[in-house]
Amino acid sequence: MTDSSLAIELRGISKAFGPVQANKDISIQVRRGTIHGIIGENGAGKSTLMSILYGFYKADAGEIFIGGRKTEIPDSQAAIDAGIGMVFQHFKLVENFTVLENVVLGAEEGAMLRPSLRKARTLLKQLAKDYEMDVDPDAIIEELGVGQQQRVEILKALYREADILILDEPTGVLTPAEADHLFRILRGLRDEGKTIILITHKLREIMEITDTVSVMRRGEMTATVKTADTSPEQLAELMVGRKVLLRVDKKAAQPGKTVLEVENLRVTDAQGVERLKGISLAIHAGEILGIAGVAGNGQSELLEVLGGYASGTGTIRMNGQEIDLTGTASDAQTRRARGIAHVPEDRQREGLIMDYRAWENVGFGYHHDEKYNSGAFMNLSALREDCEGKMQRFDVRPPNPALTAKSFSGGNQQKIVLAREIERNPDLLLIGQPTRGVDIGAIEFIHQQIVALRDQGKAILLVSVELDEIMALSDRIAVMFDGQIMGERLPAETDQGELGLLMAGMSGAAA
C-alpha cells in the first residue's frame, strides 16, 4: 500500500547507538511538493534520522519509501541516485575551486571535464533565472559570501537532479535578509514540484516557511501537524514536553556607573588580517549590552581580547582602571582577578575540559583560588562540595559531580559553565552564544540567570548570532559588521529588519 503523492515515507525507523536510542519507531510521511519542517531540541534525533535517510547510518529497523517505492539506502550515493540532495550546515565545498567546478565535482560525465562544465554552465544559467539563484559560475568559492556558498550547495544538489532537498539548520550562518532570500528560493523550488525538508530549531522559521511540521522529542516523533493549524507555543510545548515561556520577563534596566569602557580597540589575527577595526563601547552596571551580528564579524575576537587571550591595541578600562592589552602583563587569569568572568562562545572547546569530571570543571580557570587549594595540592573535597552546590542551584541534571563534562547534554554543560562564572560574582560577565546547542527548556533558565545577574547590578556583554535572543535580553544593542560597530539601537526602538540591514553592513539605515 503505497501512495505516490508521497515523496518520502519512513516506517518504523529505529536506531540505537549503544544504549542510546536515537530514533524510536519513527514514521513520517512527506508529501511531494511541500516544505516539511522537522523541529526538535538538540539531541532529539533529527540529525540521526536525516543521516539514515542520506545513507550515513543504517537503521536498526524500519523501511524507507521514496516516491512510493521501497528503497534501500546503504550509502550517500544511493541517496543521490534516489533523488535526495543534502545541504549541510557546514558546507562541503572545495574552497579554491570555482562555483562551476564545485557543482560538477563528483558528477563528471566521461573522462574529459569540458563537456560536463559546459553542461553545468548552461544549467546554472537556467537555474539562476528560474529561482533568483544568481551566482557567478567562475567565482572562487572562498571569495563568496556565506549566503552565496549555500546557494552553490543547493545548485550542486539540483545539478544531481535532486527532487528532495534536505537542509540542516540552513539559516544559522545567514543574515535575516539572506535568510529571506533563501526562503524565496525554497518556495520557488517547492512550486516547481520539489520536496524540501527543513531541519531547524527556530520556531519562527517553521511558522514562516513550512507547510507541514513534524516535532521530535527524545528520539520519538511526537506530532506531525499542518503549520497553519499550530502555533509557536504549541510547537515549543511539543518539543519540550511542558509549557515553555518563550519571552524573557524582565524589568527596565537601572544602569549605574560605567564598568567597562572600550576605546578604539583593534585586533589583528595571526594571518595579519585586522579583525577588530576600532571598536568603542561602554557598558554600565546593571545593563546588558547585546552584540548582534553574523558569525565571523569580529565578535569572537572582541570576547577573546576582553577575556585576556588575544592581544590588541587601543584602550580598555575596567572600573576606571586601564587593562594591559599587549598580552605581556596579562592573561585570562589576570582578567578574572579584575572581576571579568567569561562564558565562552564554544563551551566544548574552551569553557570545559570535556574529559574532566564536573567537579574538576567547576574550578577551571579559578583553580588558583585559595578555597580550591591546599598548598600545591588541589582540595578535591572542596571542589566536589562546591560542585554539588552549584549543580543544585543551577539545576544541572543529573546532579552527579563525578560525571565527565561530555556526558552532560549541551544545556547542562552550559549550566555548569554559567554556575562557575556567575557565582564568582564578577563585575562584568562576558557571555558568548549563551544558548547555542542548548535545549529550549534550559534556554529559559539560562536567560533568567542572565537577567538576574543584571538585576544584581552587574554589567553584561552578550554576544549572540540569534537575533531573537539579542532582542529579548539586551538593554542596548550594538551591531557588528566586518570588525566595526555599525550602530547602536535600543531594542524597543528597532526591529529585525533594521538590525538585519546593519548586520549586512548597510549603515544607511536611519542613524
Partner: protein, 386 residues
C-alpha cells in the same frame, strides 16, 4: 551512568587482551620457523620468573622501563610525545658519572641523592631545548627529541672516547669504575635469604622507581600543576581560556619528563655498570614509549607494563639461549608485536570491548544530543542526556 568503561577494563583487561593477541601471533611466527611455540613460551616464562635470580634480572629491566615509561607518560598528559627518552637517559647517565667520579662521597645514600639530582637535572636539561623550541617556535617535539637522541649518542661517544676515557682501559670507551663507597646495595645485599646471587643487577633503584610512581601519581592527579598539565593536554584552547600558559606547561611537563628519563641512569649506570659505558640506555627510552602507551599513562599501568616488558627482555634472552633457532632478531620481533598490539593497535580491541560493555549496561533514557549533521555521522557517540 558512569563514563565509558570501568577503570579495571581500561587499565587491565584491554592490555591483557592485547598481550594475548600479540602472543598468539608470536606463536604463529615461532611455529612458522618450525619450533614449538609452547616450548618457547615455557622458556620465556621460566626465564623471566622461574627462579629468584631470574626475577632479579626481570625487575632490573623493569626498573629502567618504569623510569622511562613514567617520563613519557607525564609528557603524554600534556599531549607531548617525548621520543627523546633514549637521549635524555644517556645524558642522565653522564650526570650520574660526573657526580660520582669527581666528588668523594662518604656514603652511598648521599651519593644516591646527589646522583639522582644530577641524573634528573641532566635529563631535564637535554629535554629543555626541544621543549623550548616546541613552546616558543612550534618545532614539532617528535622531530626535535628524536634528533636529540642522535646528538646525545654522538656526544657520549666523543666524551667517552676523548674526555672521560680511562687510560689503559683496553680501548673500550668507558669511564673509570666508581669508588666502592658509592656502590648501591643490590638485592643480594639487602635480602640474601631470598636467594639472589651476589651478582644480581637488581638494586635499590627499584625502590626509587616505586617512589617515582607514587610521586607521578600525586603530581598528575592531586596537584594544581597536574591539573593544569592535564587540562592543557586535553584542550589547548580551553587551557588558554583558563589562563594556563601553554609555554609554561610545555616547558615544565617536558622538564619533568626528561628528568624522569634521566633518572633511569641511576639504575643502569650507578646500580649496575658502576661506570659510564657507551650506551647505558640500550633501548629503554623507546621501550618507555610502549610502556606508557600500554599503561595508559597511569603510574600503576606503567608499573605493570614495565614489569611485562622486563619479563619479555629477560625471558627473551633465555629463549634465545635455549632454542638456537630463535635468534635475537626473533625476540625483537616478538617484543615489537607486543608494542604493536598494545600501542598502535589498541583501538582494535578497545572498540569491540567498549561496545560490549555499553550493551551490557541498562538502556539510557534518552537519545544523544548532537552537533550539526556531518558527512560520516556524529563524532561523539558517548554523550548521554539525562
Amino acid at each position: 551512568m558512569t563514563d565509558a568503561l570501568p577503570k579495571w577494563v581500561d587499565i587491565a583487561l584491554i592490555p591483557l587482551l592485547n598481550l594475548v593477541l600479540a602472543l598468539i601471533i608470536s606463536g604463529i611466527v615461532v611455529a612458522a620457523i618450525g619450533e614449538n611455540p609452547f616450548e618457547a613460551l615455557g622458556y620465556l616464562v621460566t626465564g623471566a620468573v622461574g627462579t629468584v635470580n631470574n626475577w632479579g634480572f626481570t625487575l632490573f629491566y623493569a626498573t629502567n622501563f618504569i623510569f622511562t615509561g613514567l617520563g613519557v607518560a607525564v609528557a603524554f598528559h600534556a599531549r607531548l610525545f617525548n621520543i627523546g627518552g633514549e637521549g635524555q637517559a644517556a645524558i642522565g647517565g653522564l650526570g650520574v658519572a660526573l657526580c660520582l667520579l669527581f666528588i668523594p662521597w662518604p656514603h652511598w645514600t648521599i651519593a644516591l641523592l646527589a646522583a639522582s639530582l644530577g641524573a634528573a637535572a641532566f635529563g631535564a636539561a637535554w629535554s629543555a631545548i626541544p621543549a623550548y623550541l616546541q613552546a616558543k617556535r612550534g618545532s614539532h617535539i617528535v622531530i626535535t627529541t628524536i634528533m636529540f637522541n642522535f646528538i646525545a649518542s654522538a656526544l657520549m661517544v666523543y666524551l667517552l672516547s676523548r674526555v672521560l676515557l680511562v687510560p689503559g682501559a683496553g680501548g673500550s670507551p668507558e669511564t673509570a669504575r666508581f669508588v666502592e663507597a658509592v656502590r648501591l646495595p643490590n638485592a643480594y645485599d639487602v635480602a640474601p635469604w631470598l636467594g639472589f646471587r651476589r651478582s644480581t643487577p637488581l638494586n635499590v633503584s627499584f625502590l626509587l622507581a616505586i617512589a617515582a610512581c607514587i610521586g607521578v601519581w600525586l603530581l598528575i592527579w592531586r596537584t594544581r600543576l597536574g591539573y593544569e598539565i592535564r587540562a592543557f593536554g586535553h584542550s589547548e584552547p580551553a587551557a588558554i581560556y583558563a589562563g594556563i600558559s601553554p609555554v609554561k606547561i610545555t616547558m615544565i611537563a617536558m622538564l619533568i619528563s626528561g628528568g624522569l628519563c634521566g633518572l633511569m641512569a641511576i639504575n643502569s649506570v650507578m646500580g649496575e655498570a658502576e661506570r659510564l659505558v657507551i650506551d647505558p640506555v640500550q633501548g629503554a627510552g623507546f621501550v618507555g614509549i610502549a610502556v606508557a602507551l600500554m599503561g595508559r599513562s597511569h603510574p600503576v599501568g606503567v608499573f605493570l607494563a614495565a614489569l611485562l616488558f622486563g619479563m619479555l627482555y629477560q625471558g627473551g634472552a633465555e629463549v634465545e639461549f635455549e632454542i638456537p633457532a630463535i635468534t635475537r632478531e626473533m625476540i625483537l620481533v616478538i617484543q615489537a608485536l607486543v608494542i604493536l598490539f598494545t600501542g598502535a593497535l589498541d583501538n582494535m580491541v578497545r572498540m569491540p570491548v567498549e561496545r560490549l560493555f555499553l550493551q551490557a549496561r541498562r538502556p539510557a533514557r534518552a537519545p544523544l544530543p548532537t552537533t550539526p549533521l556531518e558527512a560520516g555521522g556524529h563524532k561523539d557517540r558517548s554523550k548521554v542526556e539525562p
